[in-house]
């Protein structure tokens, strides 16, 4: 299967490094507006051709799959043209700037008989997958509630809040935080399903080019409830996922390898907290070592992206059901739309 990529920036590195390792996948072409960026990526990842004009690339390389890893506001046009060129599209989150664009994109994919897949990489990290496995096995009990809270300092001068060069994500409704809504929504979606209603609070604590730096939401979904949040001000950086089941509860930090379960123990009830504590301590110590070791090797917190791409290419090759289906993409984007701010920043 021939793969091509548009937009050789930071996240592209993870896509390219993973694609190099996938059997049956040939990295055929890469495109970036900067010739040096495209050529450097081609040299580094042994890609036979590079382009600065994506239309020329689609025409000459005829890829089976196009990865769109440019800034979000350009995704729609690039993805539409890639579908028209007969390719499946794997697009970085957020797939489009608006729900209307997303629906148009999905419709075009259906007409063209191609797939359009949005990258929900954190869903495929080890911890959420392990929790899903426990749920499927019946040990966990039905999920009643999920909490996802990302604490990430995005107010530093180098990234989203760069005072010299406005970050492209700032044009999204909600600003830089909107870039993270698909992570929150996709995790909520995989545990409690599509949303019915959502209430949101968008606030700003510190002066910065960002319209908002704090976000919270309570979501009522088909199979349970969710509390989603993003904090630019709480430190240290963490990506907390907590899933509440009828028999067990799970806690994970997706920036690390930490995953702990708390559930029934075969001990008298007064002793349960004692044994739970011992077990949790053991799991956290083990995770501390694993987190340290993974710093030396592999994709780190992007492990889910590699897993997602491996499964997606596997499914495309077998013509089986994709790990992220078109209805997943639509439902997650509807939830994202419900999470967006309705008012201008205070």
């Amino acid at each position: 299967m021939k793969a091509a990529l548009i937009g050789a920036g930071q996240i592209a590195r993870q896509h390219l490094a993973c694609l190099q390792t996938l059997p049956g996948v040939e990295l055929a072409a890469i495109c970036d507006l900067s010739p040096a960026t495209a050529e450097a990526a081609a040299e580094r990842y042994e890609i036979p051709s590079w382009f600065t004009d994506y239309r020329a690339m689609l025409e000459k390389a005829r890829p089976d799959v196009v990865h769109v890893t440019t800034p979000p506001t350009s995704h729609f046009r690039l993805a539409m043209d890639s579908l028209d060129a007969g390719a499946h599209v794997i697009v970085e989150k957020p797939a489009t700037s608006t729900l209307d664009e997303l629906e148009a994109l999905v419709q075009r994919a259906e007409e063209a008989g191609r797939h359009v897949v949005e990258d929900y990489n954190y869903v495929f990290n080890h911890a959420p997958q392990e929790i899903l496995r426990q749920i499927k096995s019946g040990q966990f009990g039905a999920v009643t509630h999920v909490e996802v809270l990302i604490c990430l300092d995005i107010l530093g001068p180098g990234g989203f809040a760069d005072p010299n060069s406005p970050h492209p994500a700032l044009t999204l409704a909600g600003g830089a935080i909107a870039d993270f809504l698909p992570h929150l929504a996709s995790l909520a979606h995989c545990f409690v399903g599509p949303h019915r209603t959502a209430k949101t609070v968008w606030t700003k604590r510190k002066p910065s080019p960002l319209p908002f730096d704090e976000f919270r939401s309570v979501v009522d979904a088909e199979r349970g409830t969710a509390v989603l949040g993003f904090s630019s001000n709480s430190q240290p950086d963490a990506f907390w996922l907590r899933v509440y089941g009828e028999r067990m509860q799970a806690t994970a930090n997706l920036f690390e390898t930490r995953l702990t379960f708390d559930g029934p123990h075969n001990v008298p009830k007064p002793l349960r907290p004692f044994f739970s504590g011992l077990e949790e301590g053991k799991d956290i110590r083990r995770a501390a070592l694993a987190t340290l070791l993974r710093k030396f090797k592999g994709p780190g917190a992007y492990e889910g992206l590699w897993e997602f791409l491996a499964r997606t290419y596997g499914a495309l090759a077998d013509k089986s059901i994709l790990p992220i289906t078109v209805s997943d993409v639509i439902e997650v984007n509807r939830m994202v739309e419900a999470l967006k701010p309705t008012e201008q920043p205070r």
Binding site: G9, S34, A36, R44, N164, S165, K297, G300
Partner: protein, 343 residues
């Protein structure tokens, strides 16, 4: 004569602006939109042009009336991709703008990091081998970005028939920039010094700036590449001791012979880290060499071609770096003449 200086408010840039003015060259200083300039005390004759090479659309205006571009801007912090985007794609955008102007001469600030230390023996000079693709991609973000910046610049120069001088400074030091990566590993106030008697390829910032100003005006610099070091370099142990004394940061120094540290790093790599993809630079044998390999350094080509010698010797440079009251920058006699030669 008018020079456009990118990165003009950086550590080197500030001094390059002064050095150009001292030679009677008009300066347009390109700084980022949010840069604060109040502390520099630049004369009103310095024209400020605010732009970010990554995104600004009016870069062609920066070249109006400019005879020479002195390109110092580079992104030296952040991740590998941020450095590449800022340094390399930024240079592409800048030189695209230059191509639409009448300016045909440029001086590029490159770096010692483009040299392949592993294949260099004895003395490192302008003839020493530089990195090759794809090996360069294993050498870290700063090296990749500076190597590509030089490559992109040479491509533009060839395409447009411009005059290029590439200057590759060693470690640039001076006031508030006394600590150098070549000094080993700092642990709190204490230092693990690897190869204490090795020499540092170093240039005092005002000396380095003088070379940039000279290269801008001297026709003998055209088409040339020069390493910029003040001389053979001080030994790490001595420079570190001057740094600790000068900056009043006393601490312990633990010397470790280069061969011993190198053996340990190689052993660790072969036994533990070979399969690891993300090892700290100092634990990768080739990066370790690039940081610390004992080589000799010289500025013979600068001396022979441009007749340059550093305006300030090591002792004077130390005084200008660490003395409490900075002396007003006294221009060497030749600067005021407005001619190219400095000796």
């Amino acid at each position: 004569m008018k020079a456009l200086v990118t990165g003009a408010n950086g550590f080197l840039g500030r001094h390059v602006v002064d050095a150009l003015l001292a030679r009677g060259i008009e300066v347009r200083a390109m700084v980022r939109p949010a840069a604060r300039l109040d502390a520099f005390g630049w004369r009103s004759s310095v024209e400020i042009f605010r732009a970010d090479l990554r995104t600004s659309r009016d870069l062609p205006h920066a070249f109006e009336g400019v005879d020479v571009l002195i390109h110092l801007a580079a992104v030296v912090s952040g991740g590998e991709d941020a450095q590449f985007a800022g340094t390399v794609a930024g240079t592409e955008r800048l030189l695209d703008a230059m191509a639409s102007s009448g300016c045909r001469r440029l001086v590029l600030c490159s770096s010692f990091s483009v040299y392949d230390y592993s294949s260099t023996r004895g003395t490192l000079n302008e003839g020493s081998p530089i990195h090759q693709s794809p090996d360069v991609y294993t050498r870290g973000g700063y090296t990749v970005a500076k190597w590509w910046q030089e490559r992109v610049t040479r491509d533009f120069v060839e395409k447009h028939g411009w005059d290029l001088t590439v200057l590759r400074p060693g470690f640039i030091w001076g006031r508030d920039h006394g600590y150098l990566a070549a000094l080993g590993q700092q642990i709190g106030r204490h230092h693990v010094v690897i190869g204490p008697l090795n020499r540092i390829p170093m240039t005092y910032v005002e000396n380095c700036a003088d070379v940039f100003a000279l290269a801008a005006v001297d026709p003998r610099a055209r088409g040339q590449t020069f390493n910029v070091v003040d001389g053979p370099g001080e030994r790490i142990w001595k420079y570190l001791s001057d740094y600790m004394r000068g900056s009043d940061k006393p601490g312990w120094r633990l010397p470790i012979p280069y061969w011993l540290a190198s053996t340990v790093v190689r052993l660790a790599f072969v036994t533990v880290f070979r399969r690891a993809t993300k090892v700290p630079a100092i634990l990768t044998p080739r990066k370790f060499e690039a940081m610390l390999k004992p080589l000799r350094f010289e500025n013979r080509k600068l001396q022979k071609t441009l007749g340059w010698s550093p305006p300030f010797d090591y002792r004077q440079s130390l005084a200008r770096t660490y003395d409490p009251a900075p002396q007003p920058a006294k221009a060497p006699a030749s600067w005021s003449s407005g001619t190219a030669a400095s000796t």
